[in-house]
């Protein structure tokens, strides 16, 4: 178990190092920071002084190490737009984003998983076909189209709900619905195919043959086994709590992390973009790590992974 945990932790850390390296390489490839910040027609002495002050004339590996050290101290640079620390700008947007993504996650899980299980247990019934059709539709309708359709119906035509802004809980209803419906469709589809796969396994036939009632067989054998692929998707959804609302926040002018990211990209505010990139990567990696540990709890076979079979 300890070995299992150690390998997963090492992989998670490796992924984070890769993300940081990616950010560093891309940052350096995108142009000379001195020329980017100073105007191109600044006197050469000023540019040289700037390079010296920020250590840009040191060997690249020293800059790389210093970059790492700064990140570990929580220093992610200043926003080029308003000069405040990028990390503070991002942090103050997090609650707004979570106010959308957490209720949406509840809808996804509460709606998607039961619908998928039900559809699989009643395969080829009318309910199954309806769920699958809705699931495919939910998967293929892009979130901005769904969001704008909801605005058109509920805000423009019926006038029940506001179309954008974030003054009250009523402003959150449409964005939460937009996020939740799309995610529930994806989850229903995955849960259904996971359940169908498990229901066709020999151990289900054995359980039924030895006289275990259908409901018990489903509860004791099918559901825990089908939970494994489903947990992966849910883990991905948890990991993208911070970054999963980029488009929807833009549709509803919701000032969250996603909106900040889009504005920062449009303004090429690199410090903020990089800060969000690292934040998202970290949440994602942590979520994946937790999922891996849950695997161990759900499926004892994975705990005693044979030597070498780590992939």
């Amino acid at each position: 178990m300890l070995r299992f945990f150690g390998i997963r932790l090492a992989r998670a850390l490796l992924t984070l190092v890769l993300v940081v390296t990616f950010a560093f390489v891309v940052l350096r490839l995108s142009g000379d920071p001195a020329l980017l910040i100073m105007s191109p027609d600044a006197p050469p002495e000023a540019i040289a002084a700037f390079r010296k002050a920020w250590g840009l004339d040191d060997p690249i590996w020293q800059q790389y190490l210093r970059y790492f050290a700064a990140i570990f101290q929580g220093d992610l640079g200043l926003s080029m737009r308003d000069g405040r620390p990028a990390i503070a700008l991002v942090a103050e947007r997090i609650p707004a984003t979570l106010a959308l993504t957490l209720p949406a996650l509840a809808i996804k899980i509460g709606l998607g998983i039961p619908a998928g299980v039900y559809a699989a247990l009643h395969r080829n019934s009318f309910a199954d076909r309806a769920v699958m059709l809705l699931a495919v539709a939910g998967f293929t309708v892009p979130s901005f189209v769904l969001g704008l359709l909801l605005v058109l119906v509920f805000a423009v035509q019926l006038g029940w709900l506001p179309s954008g802004g974030q003054e009250s809980w009523r402003h959150a209803v449409l964005p939460v619905l937009t996020l939740g419906i799309g995610g529930a469709a994806v989850l229903a589809r995955f849960t259904r195919s996971a359940m169908l796969e498990v229901l066709g396994q020999p151990y289900m036939r054995t359980a039924l043959a030895k006289g275990v009632p259908w409901a018990v067989a489903v509860r004791r054998h099918a559901l825990p086994n089908a939970a494994i692929p489903t947990v992966t998707i849910v883990g991905f959804m948890v990991g993208s709590l911070l970054a999963g609302a980029v488009v929807v926040e833009s549709v509803f002018s919701w000032l969250g992390v996603g909106r900040l990211l889009v504005v920062a990209v449009a303004n090429r505010d690199l410090a903020v973009v990089q800060c969000i990139l690292l934040l998202v990567a970290t949440t994602m990696v942590i979520a994946n790590l937790v999922v891996d540990l849950l695997y161990g709890a759900l499926d004892p076979r994975l705990r005693v992974a044979p030597k070498g079979a780590t992939a």
């Binding site: 490796l14 891309v26 901005f144 833009s250 889009v262 690199l270």
Partner: protein, 297 residues
């Protein structure tokens, strides 16, 4: 040296023959509709210049925001016009071409990249394989939209860069599939046999392994295609993808959004095309997967 004795089709054929012939001919009506729709889209993309009534940038300032037929519009602009009096139908046709071009380009790039890396990993094993797997992990661990936004922020935007960027989406799935299948093909005798006959690795992978895993790859490409269309339209919707004066489906929705209350048709027409196209490709992909490759379920 003749290939006929090791023809991959001969090895694959028992799998194809197993389903009863009468079942094979049945194509569900929904899939037929999907194929017809995709054929229409392909025709539109190829014949864009011939069939669009106006140039997609031509302005008709006396007919700004004129409604489509059925809402009081006239036949001059069957789907209405936008805020600058540009014909929505003509813009739609050009957008379909642009979006399909990007999606095809990106799908091909990601398939080629992923399959090459997967084969490299399967061929060299050891350190190369570990490096590819680490990259796969990295790619799978990050929401692609965020990566794409970061790259766009750092490098700015141009159409070739944008297509290549979208081509990075999903390569890790092809790499996984290609690596897994190539490793198992290596254990299956036929690849070893041609190698023993003196074939170069290029020949072994290109002529023997690739045809054997082609059906799995084609199904994966069909399943990834809608994703790329959605990604492209999402980024263009945010104003960070295809830049004006060029136009794409997401781009049209993004700019039409400001006229949501006064002229919803500007936005609804491209939305409908996006939804119908991704839906059709998904239906076709699901059906192909069930027919050709039950292992992908």
């Amino acid at each position: 040296m003749s290939d006929t004795t090791l023809d991959p089709a001969a090895i694959a054929s028992p799998v194809v023959v197993t389903p009863p012939a009468r079942k094979r001919l049945r194509v569900p009506p929904l899939v037929i509709l999907a194929i017809l729709w995709l054929a229409l889209m392909l025709f539109t993309a190829f014949a864009a210049e011939l069939i669009s009534p106006f140039s997609f940038t031509a302005m008709d300032l006396r007919n700004r925001l004129s409604p489509p037929i059925g809402l009081g519009g006239e036949w001059l602009h069957p789907l209405g016009t936008d805020e600058l009096g540009r014909d929505v139908l003509s813009r739609l046709i050009t957008s379909i071409r642009m979006s399909l071009l990007i999606a095809f380009g990106a799908t091909v790039i990601s398939a080629v990249l992923g399959v090459s890396l997967g084969f490299l990993a399967a061929h060299f094993r050891g350190l190369v394989e570990q490096a590819v797997l680490a990259l796969v992990d990295f790619q799978a661990a990050m929401p692609f939209l965020i990566l794409a936004l970061a790259v766009l922020a750092f490098f700015g935007n141009s159409l070739p860069l944008f297509i290549c960027l979208l081509g990075l989406n999903g390569w890790e799935r092809y790499a996984r599939i290609a690596r897994g299948l190539a490793v198992s093909a290596g254990a299956q005798g036929y690849a070893a046999a041609v190698r023993q006959l003196g074939a170069s690795p290029w020949r072994v992978y290109g002529r023997h392994v690739l045809p054997n895993i082609a059906s799995t790859l084609i199904v994966s490409m069909t399943l990834a295609f809608p994703e790329i269309i959605l990604l492209e339209s999402g980024l263009s919707f945010l104003g960070l993808g295809v830049q004006p004066p060029m136009t794409s489906l997401g781009n049209m929705v993004g700019y039409g959004r400001e006229y949501l209350t006064r002229a919803p048709w500007v936005l609804l027409a491209p939305s409908a095309i996006i939804v119908l196209t991704t839906l059709s490709v998904s239906l076709l992909g699901d059906w192909l997967r069930d027919r050709l490759d039950p292992t992908l379920r």
